[in-house]
């Protein structure tokens, strides 16, 4: 009987002791595009993301209206004319770390990873693969990545009039500081 109770409790203990899921609600995603006529730069410090270190799966949720530009008018046009934020308020990413075995989440250090998954922007989903790094620190996990996206791939229509001002490809920077999600 004692062994039975032990067996019952053990799995629960394992789940509680090793936090499997890490979360952040104020991760950073920014993008930058440069043309001789205009630089376009926006920051979003309210990105929500969950990383499951047991499976390497991770998801991101980005509220489009939380992207802030230096120029208020640019921000309005971004939401109104390009992203149509009232119709499509969120962008999401669902993916996983493909080389999970090369990361030791128990050992403090920095690890190079490859992430692949589905990126949905403006209701258009594309498969992307990108390189990044996972940094295991004592308080949690940091994740960083940089990749390029092409607005046209997501049916974001840029009219001829302003095509010279908006870069064909935008550099996206992702900086996440995850902390363990207490299991309920």
């Amino acid at each position: 009987m004692k062994r039975l109770i032990f067996l019952l409790i053990l799995p629960c203990l394992v789940v509680n002791a090793n936090a499997q899921k890490y979360m952040t609600k104020n991760g950073f995603i920014g993008f930058y595009g440069h043309t001789p006529m205009e630089d376009i730069k926006a920051d979003n410090n309210q990105v929500a993301s969950v990383l499951d270190i047991s499976t390497g799966e991770l998801v991101f949720q980005v509220l489009i209206k939380s992207f802030h530009f230096d120029r208020a008018l640019m921000e309005e046009h971004f939401n109104e004319n390009y992203m149509e934020s009232d119709k499509v308020p969120k962008s999401i990413f669902k993916g996983r770390i493909t080389n999970l075995s090369s990361v030791d989440f128990k050992k403090i250090g920095s690890y190079d990873v490859t992430v692949e998954g589905d990126l949905t922007i403006h209701d258009v989903t594309n498969k992307i693969t990108t390189k990044g790094s996972i940094e295991v620190i004592s308080e949690g996990i940091n994740a960083n990545s940089k990749f390029n996206i092409v607005p046209e791939d997501y049916k974001i229509n840029i009219p001829g009039l302003v095509r010279d001002k908006i870069a064909k490809s935008l550099e996206v920077t992702v900086t996440m500081k995850y902390s363990p999600l207490p299991s309920k």
């Binding site: 067996l7 499997q20 609600k25 998801v59 802030h68 120029r71 008018l73």
Partner: protein, 301 residues
């Protein structure tokens, strides 16, 4: 015993195998719902002549130049008004706080200097905080700087002044359609004769239909409540304007047909002498160019 441990494994194992969708649900459970404020109810701070609910955000400067050409019924010799006489108005308008913008301007109509403040009281929103309409309060003062026509009598400086107060109530019904009601009050310190009322009351209505993402069709009408043309020294009519907004990045071009010549409230509400049915119509345009003087502050969350 063995059976039991297998059973326990089966029961507990799925919790370790959360799929991405479950991660997404987890994310949704852990993020608070937000208030989503409506933006871009109109493309510009004017519907056509009158102010719209739109405001300059803090640190943004709007430089506006507006023209109203001569009357369409002046014929081909006058190129339907394009040869003039044209009226112009230019202004600098600035957002101080998220809820306050101010502006100063000068118009050739009665050589008028004008200044205004616009307070954003309520903003249309959905989500945590639901608000069906946006409401702003607009106040302005105008100074007529024409030389006195009658220098034999005592002319007071205050006689040059007139004031306007408006409540702007607007709703963006959909991406394509916005509508605004504008109860207005105009006070003139000095009027032409004692038959003319010093105080005028009017209700404005204006709306826009988007033709494409960057082009919208606008219309605006002010209904004068207490003008009695039988007795007034100069008959005045309700201003009706129809126009198109074209937005090109930092500029908004507004091109319109209107029966009023003035581009400030006191003028187009109280002194519109032209009538559409007599084709006393002016072609006109407003050009708005927005400059960023200060970085737009990030919203706190």
């Amino acid at each position: 015993m063995k059976q039991l441990s297998v059973f326990i494994l089966i029961v507990l194992f799925p919790s370790l195998l959360l799929a991405q969708d479950d991660l997404m649900n987890l994310l949704n459970q852990n993020t608070a719902p937000e208030t989503n404020y409506t933006t871009a109810t109109f493309k510009s701070t004017r519907i056509i002549n009158g102010h719209s609910i739109e405001r300059m955000l803090p640190g943004q400067l709007d430089f506006r130049i507006s023209h109203r050409f001569g009357m369409l019924n002046s014929g081909a010799y006058n190129l339907y008004g394009l040869d003039g006489p044209a009226n112009m108005h230019f202004s600098l308008e600035y957002g101080i706080f998220n809820w306050l913008m101010i502006g100063v301007g000068r118009g050739s109509y009665e050589k008028t200097f004008d200044g205004f403040t616009k307070f954003s009281i309520l903003r249309q929103s959905t989500g945590v905080r639901e608000m069906p309409v946006s409401v702003s309060v607009f106040t302005s003062a105008a100074l007529n700087s024409l030389k006195w026509t009658d220098t034999s009598r005592t002319n007071y400086f205050s006689s040059r002044l007139s004031y306007t107060a408006q409540i702007l109530v607007a709703r963006k019904f959909s991406q394509g359609f916005s509508f605004q009601l504008t109860p207005s009050f105009v006070h003139r310190n000095l009027v032409g004769t004692e038959l003319d009322p010093n105080d005028l009351y009017a209700i404005g209505a204006g709306g826009r239909i988007k033709l494409s993402k960057r082009i919208s069709l606008n219309a605006e009408y002010y209904w004068l409540l207490n003008a009695n043309n039988q007795y007034m020294s100069q008959p005045i009519y309700n201003p009706l304007s129809i126009g198109v907004d074209i937005e090109t990045g930092g500029h908004v071009f507004q091109i319109m047909l209107t029966n009023s010549l003035a581009m400030i409230e006191k003028g187009f509400i109280g002194e519109t002498t032209g009538q559409w049915r007599h084709r006393d119509i002016h072609l006109g345009f407003n050009i708005s160019r927005v400059f960023t003087l200060k970085k737009y502050p990030q919203k706190k969350q």
